[in-house]
Amino acid sequence: MLKENMDEQDVILEFSGITKSFPGVKALDNVSFSVKKGTVHALVGENGAGKSTLMKILNGLYHADSGKVLLNGKEVQIRDSIHAQQLGIGMVHQELNVIGELSIAENIFLGKEPKNRLGLIDHKKLNSTAKTFLLQQKLPYSPSLKMKEMSIGEQQMIEIIKTVYFNSKIIVMDEPTSSLSESEVEKLFTKIRELKKQGSTIIYISHRLEELDEICDYLTIMRDGQFIRTVKVGEITKNEIISEMVGRTIENTYPKVKAEIGDVILEAKKLSNEKIKDVSFCVKRGEILGFAGLVGAGRTEVARAVFGMDELKSGEIYMEGEKISIKTPKDAVDNGIMMVSEDRRKYGLVTKRSVLENISLPNYDRFSKTLFVNHKAEKNVSAEIIKKLSIKTPNLDTMTASLSGGNQQKIVIGKWLVASPKVFILDEPTRGIDVGAKYEIYKQMCEFAAEGMSIIMISSDLPELLGMADRIYVMSEGRITGELLGEEANQMKVMHYATVNR
């Protein structure tokens, strides 16, 4: 009896029967669970499981159709994000809401700047208050430093302490580690522990299950808009979490099937530009070649140069033994080199346009030699790709913006597949994608390799790279610092090469 009472008091936030529908989908279906004060509470689930919708309700951006949100045992109607802030709920979004041209101080106090007698911003007071606060938070930055001069990790830290400044008791962090380097992740975790000690409660959304053990106390699993269960971290294994998330068991995270590896197909010799130095590598037929390294090591830059998106200062590229010149993406595509960029919304998709048009975009010349669109080919090929990659979309005319991240990524992969690439560069192919879709993409990669395609895979997810690649190049500071065969590669060796020169 006593213990139960204690538990009741400990609960800071409770969702009770939350339901929310959008036209055609039930995003949340009777979700109920509670969060204890002073804990780090993880929220996991595939994309589309309803995590973001729930958090948007908590932040006042959406309103539930039915159900209650209880804060410290009292029901609250959260009107909008300002109201949420007043209630002590702070949010750190995955895509940071910082204004690069403004200083740290101006960003912290945005919209609440101290004013002088004339009603103008009192910069002196602004900077001195910010400075004191930054020191309090053990962040020795100058408050007048412009936000854009800071790294993503540092900007995120400012966003976090901003919520602290406004007395947030509950801080929601959406995929906070998705674009941080290893050392930045460490700093973030230190900060989270510190906040916890001060009594803050943290709701932590992440796709990186490895992190949860390290930083979280409780874990709530959601699937298809429904609450599955809440458990204490440590009382559940990673595989159990995954199978509850997807609602089925996945025996093997990496369905690697080794393909027959043939001759060298693409060879790069001493590629150099502003970002990369003397990069030489080769990739063979049927091989999955990995590029490992820390964020900023120059892996993406190598891919961009080979794909004609960035200029090369010097160096040569050979395709099947013949020297080729690549100045634009079109040159690369014409030579059978294609690339799926890490930033699929920027470089991969025209999100305003349909599934059909996005799949067809690079292929219109293949469909028809005249000036006109071959509507029949366009339709048939797109339908084929959707089937082959099991892309979930209502129909071919659906706007790609409305699809989930995993399906969007499959469309980007699919549009190149039509052109049957010889060398397929996949830059962070599974970033921000849920477990189920990841698995399918891995499987497809193996199938492509079996068909004789060469795949260059860039990934910051080291286990994924180790699980999938036949051979790995490790980069550091724009240079290739090591080459490892799949069998001999392990986390230690990769990290050793990745930190050379540092």
Binding site: P23, G24, F307, M309, T328, P329, K330, A332, V333, D334, M339, S341, K346, Y347, G348, L349, V350, T351, K352, R353, E357, S360, L361, P362, Y364, D365, S368, L371, F372, V373, H375, K415
Partner: protein
Amino acid sequence: MKIKMEKIKKIKAGTVFSKYAIYLVFLVMFIASIFMSDNFIKPSNLINILVQVSPILIIACGETMVIIAGMTDLAPGAVLALAGCVGIGVTIQTGNAFVGMVVSITIGIICGLISGIAVSRFNIPPFIATLAVMNIARGAAYVYTGGKTIYNIGDFAFFGQGTILGIRAPIVFMVLITVISYIILKHSKFGRYLYAVGGNEYAAVASGIKAKKIKLIAYLIIGAYSGFAGVILCSRINSGLPSTGQNYEFDAIIGAIIGGTSFTGGVGSMGGTVIGCLIIALLNNMMNLMNVQSYWQSIVKGIVIMLAVGIDMAKKKSKM
């Protein structure tokens, strides 16, 4: 399950309504006009509306492509005047109206080439580049005519005043260009690339599309259309007037926007543009028939634009 089905049906009805809302607005306006003025429904008046809107709709066809590609063109009104005046001048010199027309269109294409190169090669923002071309073209029209109006246009009168198979020539040309533009946008590869470049230029380039070339061609097309609009308008008003065509580009842009073309690029259709331009033409005609002072006409037009686009934006927001 049953509830779900009903919901889906409702949504479909909703989207169909919003997709065709603009056609409904046009229909309502048309019927209202019949009751508001006895002269409206007379064939001569209806033909008059179409003749008057023809240069605007021709330019609007070009604007639709340029705007879909994420750009804009402010030069057409001035290019129209320059092309029309020079075309008439050449017709008088050579005695051949066909040569005059070809020269007009060529001048339009040259103006488009200047805008296109400025935008695609030198990365000058379209607003600025075409503003410059607008000033150059208007100035050149005055220089060419010495500030005077050229009369005695001879055979050149055919394009604006003649008939083809019993139909007024401007209407025939307007329909022809609208159909060509529809085919370009809907059925050509270039049309698909316009949408892609305007929707996301980075992704288009990374898909192997030559975005710069696409942008340049879009300007060449609107240049040619502007030149041809000049032929029709100057022929119809029976003179080479260097000050003519003022603000035609704005009416054309408004027509495209009312018709659902998104100013941020990547979205739009020729059908929408046709209806958008007809709505503007209808509005102008009604106000003329009801003897509304032209100063007031301008105010009313401004309000209509604000409402049309405002409602559209609100609709989009509620869909999010």
